[in-house]
């Protein structure tokens, strides 16, 4: 399993969830981004769950039909705030007030819709690990078994 040395702290210097942090919103692409994707991406269920625990508003933005996105989250047992089609990312921004909006994906289509929707874009293959990706157990970032090569 590929491991990455984690950053030393979060944006506000804290290494874990805390009250009063800025509210961030993270939109996840699925295929090529999450381990449940076709093909599997590097972001694991544990990472996403941790992001939610840390207080991020999370959801998915994918070319998969919305019903299938919902099925996927149900399979993972994670309740999310939004499931939208890729070209509908902008609607997420109008629905949720947040201090930061990030879309994580693996293709230039993800980058395009992030940009036109006012989101920061993180290319999953090359992004620096976010603090919520770090395992509290060993302080490492455990990407999914397929790694980050796709």
């Amino acid at each position: 399993m590929e491991q990455t040395t984690p950053p030393t702290s979060g944006e506000d210097g804290a290494a874990g969830p805390s009250e009063g942090r800025p509210v961030g919103l993270i939109s996840f692409d699925i295929d090529g981004t999450l381990t449940t994707g076709h093909g599997p991406g590097p972001i694991t269920r544990e990472m996403v769950e941790r992001a939610k625990e840390w207080g991020y508003i999370i959801g998915s933005c994918s070319d998969r039909p919305v019903g299938d996105q919902k099925n996927m989250w149900a399979t993972w047992g994670i309740e999310v705030e939004f499931t939208v089609l890729k070209h509908m990312l902008e609607s997420v921004k109008s629905r949720f007030e947040a201090d930061s909006y990030v879309h994580i994906g693996d293709t230039d289509v993800d980058m395009h819709f992030a940009r036109v929707s006012g989101f920061d874009f993180l290319q999953v293959q090359t992004m620096d690990p976010e603090p919520w990706m770090v395992s509290p157990e060993d302080g490492q970032v455990h990407w999914g078994p397929e790694g980050r090569t796709r």
């Binding site: 070209h87 230039d108 395009h112």
Partner: protein, 136 residues
């Protein structure tokens, strides 16, 4: 839109030379008396082995249909999506058709069937490309 720049070759140089002089000069088959575009080595209409001639056309046409590109492989155009791609029929021979971006016409507002005229867009100093715009 920053169109990609066509690279002329020996066969189609007369066409691009014409475009650089802001003229639309198409191939013309003297055997079957038909125009041809895009430029090809042989006549697509008849079996003649005679070399094709060249003929300047007026550059008037009509919009057949308009597609809207939302995602493109052409990297140079990625920043411009969505954009119009219209298919233009040439008035002098409606079987000849061209692609057009309809400069000046907002995306999704291309008037189907409208009259258009050729325009020439400078891509590099002295190097032009043909496009079509709606006649007001």
């Amino acid at each position: 839109m920053p169109k990609t720049i066509p690279v002329a070759d020996e066969l189609d140089k007369p066409f691009w030379d014409g475009v650089n002089e802001k003229k639309l000069v198409l191939q013309y088959c003297t055997a079957c008396e038909r125009l041809q575009y895009p430029i090809k080595a042989n006549c697509v209409h008849c079996d003649t082995k005679d070399p094709l001639d060249w003929k300047e056309v007026e550059g008037k046409g009509h919009i057949l249909e308009t597609l809207v590109v939302h995602d493109t492989r052409v990297v140079r155009l990625k920043g411009d999506v969505p954009f119009n791609v219209s298919i233009i029929s040439l008035d002098e021979d409606p079987s000849i058709n061209f692609l057009a971006n309809l400069p000046g016409t907002p995306v999704t507002e291309a008037p189907q069937g409208a009259a258009v005229e050729v325009v020439f867009e400078e891509l590099e100093p002295g190097r032009f490309i043909h496009d079509w715009k709606v006649v007001e």
